[in-house]
Subunit: 168 residues, 2 copies
């Protein structure tokens, strides 16, 4: 009888594996955050490389099928196919150069991660476009084990031109 009771206890405790103390929850969230941070930072660096290489296919492949891309001074682009075209168009407009991303923070919970960072675009030798830099916020979602971009927005630090109509 003692044996049977022990077996029941072991089975039930095993089924309890997911029950967490607050300390375990904090530790798990820290571990999840660390894991997401590492994965997202690597994916982000890969994207900067694809953009620099004008590889719109590989750039778009980092985005979820229904991702929402929100570049400054143009309309929102929805879906991977449109994002692919947006990358190709941006390269055509800006010319050759190196894109650098610096991840500043990644917050994660479950399948959601939010990456905040800075971007810097350095024109290639001979490209007379000015260098530019700014900030971004990217919402990543873990889909089938892979972190994909679902929402991406950025802007530039460089001052805007004065508004076309003055206040007075």
């Amino acid at each position: 009888m003692r044996t049977r009771l022990s077996i029941v206890a072991v089975v039930l405790v095993a089924a309890c594996a997911k029950t967490e103390t607050p300390e375990q929850r904090t530790a798990r969230m820290q571990a999840e955050g660390d894991s997401a941070r590492t994965a997202v930072t690597a994916r982000s660096a890969a994207l900067a490389g694809f953009i620099s290489a004008n590889n719109a296919d590989s750039s778009a492949a980092i985005y979820a099928e229904d991702a929402v891309f929100m570049p400054p001074n143009m309309a929102t682009v929805t879906g991977r196919a449109g994002i692919r075209e947006a990358f190709a168009g941006m390269h055509q407009g800006m010319g050759a150069g190196q894109m650098h991303f610096t991840t500043q923070n990644v917050s994660a919970s479950g399948d959601i991660a939010v990456e905040r960072g800075r971007w810097h675009w350095q024109p290639a030798e001979g490209n007379r476009m000015p260098a530019d830099s700014g900030k971004y916020l990217v919402h990543w979602h873990r889909q089938g084990g892979t972190w994909m971009i679902v929402e991406d927005i950025f802007n530039a630090d460089t001052p805007a031109v004065p508004a076309p109509v003055s206040r007075r």
Copy 2:
């Protein structure tokens, strides 16, 4: 003995209350998402009202103490005090008007929520600044039961001026 075994089982099953089936997990995440969506959408609408009323104190109070505010065409502002000043400065620059936010999506997991939306600024009667609109992504964090903005970025749809240096 049967009684003692049942007691052990009941105690252990009770301790297992947090163990979820995949269906329960989906249902919980849906409920968490709905709850976050309702709270975040209301907070966001309140912020638009405070901005319209040029109430920089109440606007800043929606932001976490160490929040990061990333407006277009200017440097990142960190911390609630700086964000308060940024709101006051923006109102001074743009003049009176109504700010409207339209929440388009809220994704939530645990204490993290990501809100995507559109903003529209309508100048007041007599204010000759042009109307403007664009998109935003806001990272909310539940702190002590209240959803606070920890990261906020936005940009305009309106086209940028041509770059000062041409490529050719």
